[in-house]
Structure formats: structure tokens, C-alpha cells
């Protein structure tokens, strides 16, 4: 594979709003270039994980190298870097973009531009990428390609006059896309004879090869034996193998040179050493400065994860360790809860990331997990001048020791058809949003800008947004910083005993509402027991809401004769098993489900 001319390489990604057809177009490109026959194609080659296919989103960046014979008779090498499609993974997206010279912007011919279209587009423009608009789903009866073209020109300011009109699903006009990749997207530049400078845009852990680094070479050469050095983490290792990406497989090659995209292995054991965004150089001949844009991503959302069966604590630790090998943004540390026993406080990039990890633990590692309510990182300024970062509500100092607290806020952009502006604005209001402004994108659609506390959007904001706009609103946000806020710790007492796993930090104004809803929900989830159980929500020593689970009045087998005994005993055994799975808090048995049920309070 060595000796490819830089002028024949095209490095690009595809950006789109969720569901606008990113993965489908990627599949068609791979199929058209003959890398795989149609039969070999599993639907959406690039979405590898079962979970990704189910949810229709890309979680990990995927990359594939394709050879395309263009109409000019020349063969071109395409490196298609598929980016994660969710705001939780914005940083990963930005690093993937940094590895490219161009981006295909897909816009749905029926839906037009959405919040993510814009956010991703701006991100691509920030990286000076050549953006190549493509209008997808023109086979839909509701397609309005001309309107969408005008939208692209008016809103983003891109020339969309010769944007290919395609249907990725039906394989319509894919040729045109391929040709435009050749003609519109610039070839990489960079000097092969300069010292090595390569960007890490992803890394995965493989049990045979160790860490596999996905990289874009900007300058120089990397090959077997190169002593590579990661500038930010300072890790060093000798390269064992380099290669390029086939569809679903790694193809080793001699060397990777400036302009190429490929992988590097170096018997590294942990992806922590190869952070996304870091620069690889040659330890013996280092480059002057690192590539711009590296940052260490910090988790934004935390929650407790506990094994449903306490004896599985070790298994949970092993599973988290394995997942972390592949996911440097996942953090965890051991913690103990009175109610839930031994578990871990885990940090995630966002709620989707949390859900993905939880699902993978359950599916791939067969663990039953109880999670506590997700929260953000609060800054606590103590009266003694100390500043604490709190990720577990139980660690909050007593109110007398707190000078003030800060919470993270995001700037959010919400795109919505004008008829729903009112209801979306009141939603943002309820979530303590600060209105920053509104722009009409065209007559029927508006872009709302809000500043919102992160803890108000991590639960169910997205669901609420969808339901209040009949699915039309789209949403994107980025972390803005920390702001002072009046926050309190809301405790839940069951039968007068505080249940630590149910405590959480909430804004003082919404504490009553939250407390009331939690009590109502818990009342539904906690089965009647032999005595009456008060459920209380309290801030400090003040009870702000109360519900009662009445005492059980009847649980008796009316009949039990000779022929029934075995069967009735089995019924009792089943009942006993069910009880065993519950958590004991004081005298009260609380089903695992109850801990999770309070995560979604706004269902009703």
C-alpha cells in the first residue's frame, strides 16, 4: 500500500442529523466501490456494535479505506471516517473531523436542516473542512429538494446548487457523490520528510494486539520499529504493526506516510495512554509542537452502579475495567451505599453514554445493574475556603459548611417548527433555562438559544422536547461553564430511614416538585408490607413531601390440601425468591426497580 500519491487520497467524514441517513450512505459508498459485495454487506457495515445497529446511531468512530476508480480513469483511495452521532460524543466528533480534509453533509430532503446538522456543520467549518452537501431521501413522497437546497444556502451559506440528489436507501445517484468526493474534497498535504506528527482520532483495545490506535498522519512516516511517543500522555512504545482499514478488518502495510489514515499497534495495554486528540510523534525525532485541539475529556454525568446481586461486585469491577480499556472517557471508583451495598461511582460523557455502558454491562457481561439517579459534577465552596467537586450527593458537606455551590450550565440550540415555539419555551423555562435569543431560519422554523443547567437536561429533557413538539424539535448543546446556584440535597426517608441511594442534589425551587413526584413514584413501586411505611422527602430536617404505603392486609392461601402442597410450596418459594432480590433498608424491602423508577419522573 505504500507509494500512494497524496494527490490520490481523499480523507472525509459524513456529518448529518440523526436519522438523516449517514450510515446508509456510508454503506452504499462501500458497496459501490466494490469493497464488499451486496451479499457480504451486513446492513450498515460501520455500525459494528449490536447496540449501535439497534439504536441506529454510531457510538464509536469507525473508519474504512476504499479504492475508487473515478471517471478520469485514475484510482483514488478514500478514507471514510464515520463519526459518532450524538452530542455526548462531540469531542470525538471534533477529533474525527480534524483527521479529514472534507465532509459530506447529508440533509434529509423532507426534514431539512436540524439542530445537529447545524452543530456538526459549524464544527466542520471550524476545522476548515470542505463541505459537500448531499440531499438524501429524495425518494420520499414528502421530499422537497429545492426547498432544502435553499435552506442550505440561506442558513449555512453553502453553495448547494450542484448537491447530489440521492436516495442512499435505494442506491440512487451514489456515483455522483463518489465523483464529487474526488473533485470537491481536497487531497491532503503534509511532508513525508518532516518529523512524525499524527493525530489519534480513536483507539480500541484488542485482546491479541493490545491497543489499536486510529490515526491520521499529518507529517512524516510511521512504520514497524518506530519509537512512538504520545505528546500529551508522554507514553512511549515501539510500533509493532501499521496498516489500513478494510471493511471490518485490519490490513497490515509497510508504512503510513503523510496524508494517510490507518492504524498503529504497539503492545500498549490501555487506551488511557492513547487519548483521542493526542499527537503521536517519533521519540527519537520529535516534532516541534503538538497538533492543536487536544483536551482531556472529563465525565459530565455521574451515577452509582451496583450489582443487583451483591456477590457479583467483583464481576462488575472486571466488566467495567474491560469496558474502560476501550473507552477512556468512562471513569469509575468504588463506593459503598447503605442501601445498595458495594458498587461504583461511574462518570460518563452524557446520559446516552451512561445508558450504553449500562446496556453493555447487562448484555455483554450478563450483569443485573441497579443505577442511582444520574447527577452532574457540582462545585462546593466551603466556608473554610476549600473547593470540592461533588459527584455523589451523599458526600455533600452539611449546609452550615457550605459557602455556596456552582453547577454546570450548557448553551443549547433547539430547532423547532414555529407552532411549537411556545411550548418549547415554557419547557425551557420549567427547566430553569435562560433565554438567549431566537432566530427564524425560514418562515416555519426557528432556532432557540437557551442557557440551561446541565442537571436539568440529563434526565429526560430530550424526551420532553420530543413529546412537546410532536417529534419535530431537535437539540444540541455544549458545556459553557459553571455558575452559582441555589442547590439543596433532597433526601428520601423510607420508614424514617434515609436511603442514601435515593438522595440527589436539586435546585431549591424545584425541590418540592421533585420530592413530591419521587414519593408518589416510590409509593407505586414499594409493595405493601406487614406494617405501614411512610415515604418522606426531606431537605435537611424539613420534610417537604410524604406518602404512605399501607400495611398489607391479605396474603394467604385459602386452600391447601394433600394434592396442593407441592404446588403451594413452590408458590411460596417463588415469593421468597422475589423477596430475596429486594433491597433491605431498615425493616423495609425495596425492589431494585424502585431505585430505577425515580430516574424517569416525568413519564406521566
Amino acid at each position: 500500500m505504500a507509494g500512494i500519491e497524496q494527490s490520490k487520497i481523499r480523507n472525509f467524514c459524513i456529518i448529518a442529523h440523526i436519522d438523516h441517513g449517514k450510515s446508509t450512505l456510508a454503506d452504499r459508498i462501500i458497496e459501490k466501490t466494490g469493497l464488499l459485495t451486496q451479499r457480504e454487506m451486513q446492513e450498515q457495515v460501520l455500525d459494528n456494535m449490536e447496540l449501535e445497529r439497534e439504536r441506529g446511531i454510531t457510538i464509536k468512530a469507525q473508519t474504512v479505506r476504499i479504492v475508487y476508480k473515478a471517471k478520469d480513469g485514475e484510482e483514488y483511495v478514500f478514507n471514510l471516517i464515520d463519526t459518532p452521532g450524538h452530542v455526548d460524543f462531540n469531542y470525538e466528533v471534533s477529533r474525527s473531523l480534524a483527521a479529514c480534509e472534507g465532509a459530506i453533509l447529508i440533509v434529509d430532503a423532507a426534514q431539512g436542516i436540524e439542530a445537529q446538522t447545524l452543530a456538526n456543520c459549524y464544527l466542520a467549518l471550524d476545522h476548515d473542512l470542505e463541505i459537500m452537501p448531499v440531499i438524501n431521501k429524495i425518494d420520499l413522497p414528502s421530499a422537497e429538494p429545492d426547498r432544502v437546497k435553499a435552506e442550505i444556502e440561506d442558513i449555512i451559506g453553502l453553495d448547494a446548487s450542484d448537491a447530489p440528489l440521492i436516495s442512499a436507501k435505494q442506491g440512487l445517484n451514489i456515483e455522483e457523490v463518489l465523483e464529487q468526493i474526488v473533485t470537491r474534497i481536497p487531497a491532503p498535504s503534509g511532508r513525508k520528510d518532516a518529523s512524525l506528527k499524527a493525530l489519534i482520532f480513536d483507539s480500541i483495545y484488542d485482546s491479541y494486539k493490545g491497543v489499536i490506535v486510529f490515526t491520521r498522519i499529518f507529517d512524516g512516516v510511521i512504520k514497524k520499529g518506530t519509537r512512538m511517543k504520545m505528546i500529551a500522555t508522554n507514553a512511549e512504545a515501539e510500533v509493532v504493526e501499521v496498516g489500513t482499514f478494510g471493511a471490518g478488518q485490519f490490513i497490515p502495510c509497510e508504512e503510513l506516510t503523510a496524508g494517510m489514515v490507518g492504524y498503529v499497534t504497539a503492545s500498549l495495554k490501555n487506551v488511557k495512554d492513547t487519548r483521542v486528540g493526542d499527537t503521536i510523534t517519533d521519540a527519537e525525532n520529535p516534532c516541534g509542537e503538538a497538533l492543536p485541539g487536544y483536551k482531556k475529556v472529563n465525565p459530565m454525568v455521574y451515577c452509582g452502579m451496583y450489582p443487583a446481586d451483591g456477590s457479583k461486585y467483583g464481576d462488575l469491577r472486571d466488566a467495567l475495567e474491560k469496558l474502560q480499556l476501550n473507552d477512556a472517557s468512562l471513569q469509575f471508583e468504588a463506593e459503598t451505599s447503605v442501601a445498595l451495598g458495594f458498587g461504583f461511582r461511574c462518570g460518563f460523557l452524557g446520559l446516552l453514554h451512561l445508558e450504553i455502558i449500562q446496556e453493555r454491562l447487562e448484555r455483554e457481561y450478563n450483569l443485573d445493574i441497579v443505577t442511582t439517579a444520574p447527577g452532574v459534577v457540582y462545585k462546593v465552596y466551603r466556608t473554610d475556603g476549600q473547593v470540592l467537586e461533588i459527584t455523589n450527593p451523599s458526600n455533600l458537606p452539611s449546609p452550615t459548611e457550605i459557602e455556596y455551590m456552582e453547577e454546570p450550565v450548557v448553551s443549547a440550540e433547539i430547532m423547532v417548527t414555529t407552532e411549537f415555539v411556545g411550548s418549547i419555551m415554557s419547557l425551557c423555562q420549567e427547566r430553569r433555562g435562560i433565554y438567549l435569543g431566537m432566530e427564524y431560519m425560514e418562515e416555519t422554523r426557528a432556532l432557540l438559544r437557551y442557557e440551561l443547567p446541565l442537571n436539568e437536561i440529563i434526565y429526560d429533557f430530550f424526551d420532553a422536547l420530543k413529546s412537546r413538539s410532536r417529534g419535530y424539535a431537535s437539540f444540541d448543546y455544549e458545556l459553557k461553564g459553571y455558575e452559582k446556584s441555589e442547590l439543596v440535597k433532597l433526601d428520601i426517608l423510607i420508614n424514617k430511614e434515609e436511603v442514601d441511594a435515593l438522595s440527589f442534589i436539586v435546585h431549591a425551587e424545584t425541590s418540592y416538585e421533585r420530592g413530591r413526584k419521587m414519593c408518589e413514584k416510590l409509593k407505586k413501586e414499594i409493595p405493601r408490607q406487614l406494617f405501614e411505611i411512610p415515604i418522606q422527602a426531606a431537605v435537611g430536617s424539613k420534610v417537604i413531601a410524604r406518602e404512605t404505603v399501607k400495611a398489607m392486609r391479605k396474603d394467604v392461601l385459602a386452600k391447601c390440601y394433600g394434592g396442593d402442597i407441592t404446588r403451594k410450596k413452590k408458590l411460596l418459594e417463588k415469593q421468597k425468591e422475589g423477596k430475596k432480590r429486594m433491597r433491605q433498608v431498615g425493616n423495609v424491602e425495596i425492589p431494585q426497580k424502585a431505585f430505577m423508577s425515580v430516574l424517569k419522573l416525568d413519564d406521566e
Binding site: 394467604v556 391447601c560 402442597i565 410450596k569
Partner: protein, 394 residues
């Protein structure tokens, strides 16, 4: 102790799986069948009974219970042949002189005749168990019963006339559309008839029944009484029956003094039993068995002299201790600590002290002398307590 003989006591159960029509709440092994099917079944039943003569001869027969289904659906001569077989196998009639065993047949109103009753009497059947369920014709219809209250009255009077001096009447509460007052009326009617024994069951919606389809699948139904009403009915039963001279001796059973069902007491006190007929259970020598549950296979196997009795569970000592408690605590007298020690060479408090104390504190269990029993509130939530006695299975 009733006897000084070394022979252990045995209760015999004979299952007749036939009904005119299956009731809407019934999950028992029963169905409608043709005359020829019934005849063949009776023949096979006789054969199974006689084949167990060897086993029976090692015991002293304590009680015989012909249950169903509706045993009274059988012709008089069929019952005669069944009892002849029993007598041939264990000579139960010989014991009549010293200590008459309790011999019960279940009878449903609408299937009894004078002739049948006369034959029962001759065969030494000395107890009738009659399924009334309700004195309200509307409720009987909802239950899918084939009789009305009047038919029951006629059958009951007929039995009395022919000299049956030990009759049980089955009642049900918590029925769809039933009210406190309609149920009160049922109890009043029955008390007036003055049977020796009354079983009063709270309706259980069992899987696989018509009621299950109608009431259980769609969650709580408005037609069914609430948990509170159900408990009120239960308490009313006890109050009314006790003031009429019946004493509660088990969760759902009431009797006049000396008329507690010996047969049913066997099940709750760990006495061995031998079951004949389709699906019947046996408990012999620490093993619980069940008979073949498919009628065709059952009859075919007997015809071919093959085994129809299968092991259901081998009871370990831990199992037997658990059953001692779980079944014994159904009785208002509860369990006897000395009896426990005699059987298991272990003090009952040594074994279950923590559990007993826990529920004593909640006033759900009481200890008096060597007796441990559930309080009225304890009975209402007894499953919660009984599960504590189950052995750990790992």
C-alpha cells in the same frame, strides 16, 4: 393417642375427575366425560386400589375421602365397586367396631338421589361434603354452578332424612358482584341448616380458569371485592360462625365440637396419605408422589399393569421441618413444640426462635405453652410468615 397399635395411620384419597360441567373458578383436575369413559375409569381405579393392598395393610386406616370433580356424578353401583375394592385392599370396614374411620364423599347438588345416598350409607360413608358456595342464585350463576339454592336445600334435606349426621357445606367469599350483605345472607341461610362442618374459602383466581381470563388478565376488576372488603368478609365469617357454635380450626375451616375433618387434618399434621385416581397425591415414608395426570395415559398404564405413581419430591428432614411449620400454622391451634422435638430431636425455638420472635413482636404469632400459632392478623398475611420457614436451597 387413639390407639396403642404400632401401625402408623394412613388417610386414603380417591379422585373422581368428572363433572357435569366445569365451574368458572375451578382449576382442579376435572372435566365432563361420557358414561363409557367414566365406566372405564372406575374399572381402572378399582385395579389401582387393589394393587396397593400390600402398602395399605401396613397401616391403620384413619380416613377415606372420595373427592373430585364431582364423585356423586357416579352411579351408585360404581361407588359401590370402588368401596368394595378399598375394603378388599384394606378391610376398612373391620375397623368400624373399634374406631370408625371417617369416610367422606363430595357431593354436588343436582347429582344426588335417594338411591345414591342409601348406597353411600350402606358402604359406611359417614360424612358428606356438599358444594353450595353461595345461597344467592345470581352468584351461583356467575360461578358457573349447575344448581340453584333450592336444589341444594332439597339434596341437603334428603341427606338428613336418610340419616347423614356429619355434613360439610362449602362456601365461597370474595366472589364477583358479591356484597357484604349477600354474603351475610348466605352464612345465615347455612347456619339455619345447621351442618356439622363449614368450609368457607376466599375466591382465588387461578390460572387456566374462566375467571382468570375474565378477571386476572386485565388487572384489577371492579366486580371483584377489594382486599379490604375481602378481609371484612373473612372476619364476618368467623364472627358469625363462632356465635353459631362453630369453631375455626384452620384458615378456611369451621366445625362444631368434635366434627373437625379428620381427613383434612391429616394433610396439615404430617400424617401419611395414599391417593388413588388421576393426578392424586400420596405421602408415604418421606416421599411425595403424584399419579399420572393425563386420563388416557393413566388408564392405559393401569391396563398394562404399569406404574402410574411417580415421585414428586423426596422430603429431606429440612423439608419436613418446613412443612411441619407451613402446614401446621394453618391450624388455629398452630404447631406443638413438643411434637416438633419428638419428630426431629430438635427444639422448635432452637430451630426457628428468631423467626418466631420477629413475628411475635409484630403480634402476628403467639406462643402459649408449647403451642405456637398465628393470630387473626397473622393468618391474613400468613404467606409472608410461612416463607420464612422454607429451607434455603443453596
Amino acid at each position: 393417642m387413639e390407639s396403642r397399635s404400632e401401625k402408623r395411620e394412613l388417610s386414603i384419597y380417591i379422585h373422581i375427575p368428572f363433572c357435569v360441567k366445569k365451574c368458572n373458578y375451578c382449576d382442579f383436575l376435572s372435566f365432563a366425560a361420557s358414561d363409557s369413559q367414566q365406566e372405564r375409569y372406575v374399572n381402572m381405579l378399582q385395579k389401582q386400589i387393589i394393587s396397593q393392598g400390600q402398602v395399605m395393610s401396613q397401616y391403620k386406616i384413619r380416613s377415606i375421602f372420595i373427592g373430585g370433580g364431582t364423585p356423586s356424578i357416579l352411579k351408585a353401583d360404581q361407588v359401590d365397586r370402588i368401596m368394595e375394592a378399598v375394603n378388599k385392599a384394606c378391610q376398612y370396614r373391620d375397623s368400624f367396631q373399634q374406631n370408625e374411620p371417617e369416610v367422606t364423599i363430595e357431593a354436588n347438588p343436582g347429582t344426588l338421589t335417594k338411591e345414591k345416598l342409601r348406597v353411600y350409607k350402606e358402604l359406611g360413608i359417614n360424612r358428606l361434603s356438599m358444594g353450595l358456595q353461595s345461597a344467592s342464585d345470581q352468584e351461583l350463576q356467575i360461578l358457573g354452578r349447575i344448581h340453584n339454592y333450592k336444589t341444594f336445600r332439597e339434596n341437603y334435606d334428603m341427606a338428613r332424612e336418610l340419616g347423614f349426621q356429619n355434613i360439610n357445606v362449602d362456601l365461597m367469599s370474595a366472589l364477583p358482584s358479591q356484597t357484604m350483605s349477600s354474603y351475610q345472607n348466605t352464612i345465615e341461610e347455612v347456619v339455619r341448616l345447621n351442618p356439622e362442618h363449614i368450609s368457607a374459602y376466599s375466591l382465588i383466581i387461578e390460572e387456566g380458569t374462566e375467571f382468570y381470563k375474565k378477571y386476572a388478565i386485565h388487572g384489577e376488576s371492579k366486580e371483584l371485592p377489594s382486599e379490604e372488603e375481602e378481609r371484612d368478609m373473612y372476619k364476618m365469617t368467623k364472627k358469625m360462625l363462632e356465635s353459631a357454635g362453630y369453631k375455626q380450626y384452620e384458615i378456611s375451616n369451621y366445625a362444631k365440637k368434635g366434627h373437625e375433618s379428620r381427613h383434612n387434618l391429616s394433610y396439615w399434621t404430617g400424617i401419611e396419605y395414599l391417593g388413588f385416581g388421576l393426578g392424586a397425591s400420596s405421602l408415604l415414608n418421606h416421599v411425595r408422589y403424584y399419579n399420572e395426570r393425563n386420563a388416557e395415559i393413566y388408564m392405559e398404564k393401569i391396563e398394562k399393569n404399569q406404574k402410574v405413581m411417580h415421585i414428586e419430591e423426596n422430603l429431606s428432614e429440612a423439608d419436613e421441618m418446613a412443612e411441619f411449620m407451613i402446614l401446621g400454622l394453618r391450624l388455629t391451634n398452630g404447631v406443638n413444640g413438643d411434637e416438633f422435638t419428638k419428630r426431629f430431636q430438635l427444639g422448635i425455638f432452637e430451630k426457628y426462635g428468631t423467626i418466631i420472635k420477629k413475628y411475635q413482636l409484630l403480634d402476628l404469632i403467639k406462643v402459649r405453652g408449647n403451642r405456637i400459632y398465628l393470630t387473626e392478623n397473622g393468618i391474613s398475611v400468613s404467606n409472608q410468615i410461612l416463607i420464612e420457614f422454607l429451607p434455603e436451597n443453596d
